[in-house]
């Protein structure tokens, strides 16, 4: 059974939990994955998102998220103006993604130092989201838990080394997902945790030889 504040709550900016609140969270997630201030955002909207995004303020909501606003921030309605002021260039394009959830967005971000992130995710109802692809890797990420993401060479033993570090810090794993493009090449691992992840843990994971990069996505 859901909790009290899933029913009387959340506090949010309207008009729609899936088209507005969920959209903010998709933008937030994209911004966190980029990991730096974004200067450019190219956003493709599919299905009901493409059809109704202006009326629901889905465009404002996604940009608000990229700017780091939470779903109950009253600045969401002015997000497009604020983006201009912050030097964030944005564009929206409707697309047709075969078989995708009707509220799907593909968000492509470029950061100040040139980092890029491309995420695909859907707003699946009640403000909840599911990220299905990060930079070409198939994933399943809800943003409900703090997550550790590693990009590493697909070799035996890497996963054990990372999970050993977590167990040393007594961090409990809630969910885990590994995906790769080809055998032996780079792979991405997402570990969702019950507790907030200390930066030390992330740093230690980066020290694992096969790990190219590790970063932390807080719960949103």
């Amino acid at each position: 059974m859901r909790g009290v504040f899933d029913i009387v709550g959340p506090v949010m900016i309207g008009p729609s939990s899936s088209h507005t609140a969920g959209a903010v969270r998709l933008g937030l997630m994209a911004g966190k994955i980029l990991g730096e201030k974004a200067v450019k955002a190219e956003i493709n909207l599919h299905g009901s998102f493409a059809q109704t995004y202006r009326g629901h303020g889905t465009d404002k909501a996604i940009i608000a998220g990229v700017l780091g606003f939470l779903p109950d921030d009253e600045r969401i309605r002015d997000a497009l103006i604020l983006a201009k002021r912050e030097g964030l260039d944005y564009s929206f394009q409707p697309v047709n993604l075969d078989g995708a959830h009707p509220n799907t967005a593909v968000i492509y971000l470029i950061g100040v130092t040139g980092r890029v992130a491309r995420i695909r995710g859907a707003s699946i109802g009640g403000g909840n989201i599911l990220i299905s692809n990060i930079n070409g890797y198939e994933v399943e990420l809800t943003g409900q838990y703090p997550a550790l993401i590693t990009i590493h060479r697909d070799k035996p033993g890497v996963i054990t080394q990372v999970t050993n570090i977590l167990s040393r810090y007594e961090m409990n794993i809630a969910f885990m997902h590994v995906s790769r493009q080809n055998r032996g090449e780079t792979a991405m691992m997402i570990i969702e945790l019950d507790d907030v992840l200390p930066e030390d843990v992330v740093e230690e994971c980066r020290q694992v030889y096969e790990v190219e990069n590790a970063f932390h996505i807080p719960a949103i």
Binding site: M1, R2, I7, M12, S17, T20, S48
Partner: protein
């Protein structure tokens, strides 16, 4: 651990211990979330604060939504309250509920209850009750826990999403939550709380979700006003001793069955009902251009 899977179980707990329903909703939440009573009450107080602000903003609102379809009606209803057929209490509740929904439509801050589309109903009736019966803030916050407990059972045994169960699941559930909360606030027994929920939901069974142009505005905004008044009448009936022939949990079961039987076109797809009327089509064209 305190738990309940139906309204009947919730009522049984309350009757057995001779305590109000909200006490068990809070007790269960303390256990599942591992938070203190104070922390839960404080969070609910914050939600109530946001609800009150959205009411104040709503009854003064003159701003139209992005689509231009809604805005300004709460103010009209409120101005008319003392010369109305339905009486000032009903008209006030209607104005509050429409007002909160208008605030939602202009991208203002609201509390989903249980959803954004149905966010006006519960706060509107509680605010009206607070001013009428002069219920203390503390009691209103407790009544919100009662409303939440009812919604939790509905969500588990049926649905609170228009896309799954039609608008009976959103505005129908909200009306049930509101009626139950009102009964408790007026000092009704737990059994009467259940009757209020049953009466309110029963009369909104089968309600379609057919929003014009896919936006949470038409019929949603005005429907919040109607459903608020509806919930007040259901609470008054229950307090008068009226009983639903069909017990509340069976009503919720019926709601679930009806939701599943509703065609896809009446479950938030905007492919049926009001959404495909000639006027709705013209509105869609104005907003989105011609469909190829």
């Amino acid at each position: 651990m305190i738990n309940f899977n139906s309204i009947a179980e919730l009522i049984a707990l309350a009757e057995e211990k001779n305590l109000p329903v909200h006490a068990f909703v809070i007790a269960r939440e303390m256990h599942t979330s591992q938070r203190s009573r104070e922390a839960l009450v404080e969070e609910m107080q914050r939600n109530w604060q946001v609800m009150k602000e959205s009411i104040q903003r709503g009854i003064q609102n003159e701003e139209h939504s992005i689509s231009g379809l809604t805005g300004g009606d709460a103010r009209r209803i409120y101005a008319q309250r003392n010369t109305s057929y339905a009486g000032s209490a009903a008209m006030e509740a209607a104005a509050y509920a429409v007002g909160i929904s208008e605030v939602n439509a202009v991208m203002g801050k609201i509390v989903a209850c249980p959803t954004a589309g149905s966010c006006g109903i519960v706060p509107a009736v509680l605010f009206a009750a607070a001013s009428q019966k002069k219920a203390a803030e503390e009691q209103i916050v407790e009544a919100l826990f009662t409303a939440a407990g009812i919604g939790m059972v509905i969500e588990q045994n049926a649905s609170i999403a228009g896309a799954a169960g039609g608008c009976q699941a959103e505005c129908g559930s909200a009306a049930g939550m509101a009626a139950g909360a009102l009964v408790e606030l007026a000092g009704g027994t737990p059994e009467m709380v259940g009757q209020g929920v049953a009466l309110a939901i029963k009369n909104l069974l089968g309600l379609a979700c057919d929003p014009v142009a896919g936006l949470v505005e038409v019929p949603c905004v005005k429907r919040n006003g109607f459903a608020a008044v509806h919930a007040m009448v259901a609470a008054d009936m229950a307090l008068a001793g009226v009983k639903s022939v069909i017990p509340v949990d069976e009503v919720i079961e019926a709601m679930n069955r009806i939701g599943r039987a509703l065609p896809r076109s009446l479950r938030e797809t905007s492919e049926g009902g009001l959404a495909v009327t000639a006027t709705a089509k013209r509105i869609e064209e104005r907003l989105y251009g011609k469909k190829s």
